[in-house]
């Protein structure tokens, strides 16, 4: 029994220490920082940190651009996440249907964009959208894809392009795991491919879809690389375009206390949204 205790320490301690140092400590530190504020005696006086209570949070809640950026990523997510996961589901069902030849090829081709880092994907698409550089001049000359009206959806396209294949693979893997016997009854009842997909396959891969949705919600609220890169292609992207960009530019001013408060609010919002989504889908599943 003693050997087991030693082994347990050996297995768990390294991860636990790093997790405490680089996950728990930063969260606690951010919360602490967000409760302080910097005070100066006079304009050029020495800066001192004093306890400020919820002062920073008051500033966060009255910060118009920050809430605009939250609204922007929510709008982005409401449109982009269903489109991306809908496409991923359709592609996965088609791959699984037996109607498609060359499955290995498609699986790989759709997954290749996932190998492109977000920053690099954004740079690449930035070029593709630029009117004088794009190979699609027919499109870019009639629509300004980098204008204030469209640039959010141009970014949505970049994110979709990178992640559809990845989500498709997760859903496809769980389709492959469904035992063949499940389909026999449907076949006997004379259900066609679409009916089988709708009534059997989709309900059975629901857990995979929920998982990918939660990850997508988290990803949407964290949008950073794409807007940061697009700032050099389009003047419509401001330094507070997404919440993360706001955090970054606030910390660059620097106002660390306010930036910490932004981080805390953002982390809470992410957790609340993810949990709320899980709860809603679980209730649906119980019926």
């Amino acid at each position: 029994m003693k050997g087991k205790g030693k082994a347990l320490t050996f297995f768990i301690l390294p991860f636990a220490l790093l997790f405490a140092a680089f996950y728990l400590a930063p969260i606690l530190y951010a919360i602490k920082q967000s409760l302080y504020k910097v005070e100066r005696k006079g304009t050029f006086g020495k800066a001192t940190e004093v306890f400020g209570g919820f002062d920073q949070y008051q500033r966060v809640f009255s910060d118009g651009p920050f809430w605009e950026s939250i609204g922007r990523v929510l709008l982005f997510g409401i449109v982009q996440v269903p489109v991306m996961l809908g496409l991923a589901l359709i592609f996965a069902l088609l791959l699984d249907s037996g109607l498609v030849k060359g499955r290995r090829f498609f699986r790989l081709a759709f997954f290749v964009p996932y190998a492109v880092p977000g920053v690099v994907a954004a740079i690449m698409w930035g070029f593709l959208y630029s009117p004088n550089l794009s190979p699609f001049t027919a499109v870019t000359s009639s629509f300004d894809l980098l204008s204030a009206d469209l640039v959010l959806w141009s970014m949505a396209n970049v994110v979709t392009w990178v992640y559809v294949g990845y989500n498709m693979l997760i859903i496809y893997s769980s389709l492959l795991a469904i035992p063949q016997e499940v389909y026999e009854a449907a076949k006997i009842d004379g259900a066609g491919a679409i009916r089988t997909a709708w009534s059997i396959k989709i309900p059975l891969v629901m857990p995979a879809i929920v998982l990918t949705t939660v990850f997508s919600i988290i990803g949407t609220l964290q949008l950073l690389a794409e807007p940061a890169v697009f700032r050099s292609f389009s003047s419509a992207v401001t330094s507070t375009y997404t919440p993360n960009l706001t955090v970054y530019s606030t910390s660059a001013i620097p106002n660390f206390n306010l930036a910490a408060a932004f981080s805390v609010v953002l982390a809470l919002a992410t957790c609340v949204l993810s949990f709320a989504f899980l709860k809603v889908t679980q209730r649906g599943g119980d019926k």
């Binding site: 050997g3 030693k6 082994a7 347990l8 297995f11 768990i12 991860f15 636990a16 790093l18 997790f19 680089f22 996950y23 400590a25 969260i27 530190y29 951010a30 920082q33 359709i90 592609f91 088609l94 109607l99 030849k101 790989l108 081709a109 759709f110 964009p113 190998a115 492109v116 880092p117 977000g118 920053v119 690099v120 740079i123 690449m124 593709l128 550089l133 190979p135 392009w161 693979l169 997760i170 893997s173 769980s174 795991a177 990918t212 988290i218 609220l221 964290q222 690389a225 890169v229 050099s232 955090v247 970054y248 910390s251 660390f256 930036a259 981080s263 953002l266 982390a267 992410t270 957790c271």
Partner: protein, 274 residues
């Protein structure tokens, strides 16, 4: 006839996914003047070699340095991080001890914490130790992978039978030796999956290096390309370097995927189903 519509959908999607990469390959093979004057989706005079040597020579080869940094940051963090996550997940799956569920739940809630919310407080903590702008300030936080622990636990439960561990104990094998000689082999597909997820996450992590690093020599390639791209308006010749560099930066991950893809499909599925 029935296959026609599905194949058409898949074909159109393939074009959507691959044309941008094809364009990048073509663009990186052109000289600066031909880039704007020739057919964007087809090759002109093939100057990829010239572009590459210019890329690698620019500012004393800083781009190669970035690539190397990225490989060390991501490869190192993914290897070590996978090992640590696997050990922890395995212990949570195979041993009963007080506090087991508490540890698991804390780690699991770590999955929901956005990594970007951690970057700024990490910067503040590291700056208290005067350790920002160092290799370790990016490397150490990248080792932690809560999702890896979750996957490792699920997979260890499913693929490492208790009877086998009992048998190993009867044979006098220590717990740690059993883990490294027997359990890791059984968990191998899951380990590959965790490694790949971790690799991609670190490779893509942008905010942490952006906030931590000031010195160009320490940049990963993503941050390097980003900083060049922001200077394109002042230094136009950087444009071809950005394009060529973007192409080069994709290559290692594509190779990693091609080499590892046959291992990770199973693990991916088992993580998603639970």
């Amino acid at each position: 006839m029935k296959r026609l519509a599905p194949m058409a959908v898949m074909g159109a999607a393939t074009l959507y996914f691959l044309i941008p990469i094809w364009w990048l390959l073509v663009a990186a093979s052109k000289s600066r003047s031909q880039f704007t004057n020739t057919e964007p989706l087809w090759f002109a005079d093939f100057s990829l070699g010239d572009n590459l040597s210019e890329l690698f020579a620019y500012r004393d080869g800083v781009f190669l340095r970035w690539m190397l940094n990225s490989v060390v940051y991501t490869g190192g963090a993914a290897l070590l991080g996978t090992l640590l996550a696997a050990m922890c997940g395995y212990a949570l799956a195979k041993y009963r001890f007080p506090g087991r569920e508490a540890i698991f739940n804390i780690v699991l809630s770590g999955v929901l914490v956005p990594a970007t919310a951690l970057a700024l407080p990490l910067f503040l903590i590291f700056s208290q130790f005067q350790a920002t702008n160092t290799f370790w300030s990016v490397f150490l936080p990248s080792l932690v992978n809560p999702f890896g622990v979750y996957l490792a636990r699920i997979y260890a439960t499913a693929s490492v039978p208790d009877e086998l561990l009992e048998a190993a104990r009867l044979d006098g094998s220590g717990e740690i030796r059993t883990f490294f000689t027997i359990s890791t082999k059984l968990m191998f597909p899951a380990l590959v999956t965790i490694f790949l997820f971790h690799f991609v996450a670190v490779w893509n992590n942008f905010l942490l290096p952006l906030i931590m690093l000031g010195e160009e020599k320490l940049f990963p390639v993503t941050l390097g390309l980003y900083s060049w791209n922001t200077q394109v308006n002042q230094i136009p010749e950087l444009r071809m370097l950005v394009l060529t560099g973007a192409l080069v930066s994709i290559v290692p991950l594509v190779i990693a995927f091609l080499l590892l893809q046959r291992f990770w499909r199973n693990g991916l599925g088992s993580g998603a189903i639970k």
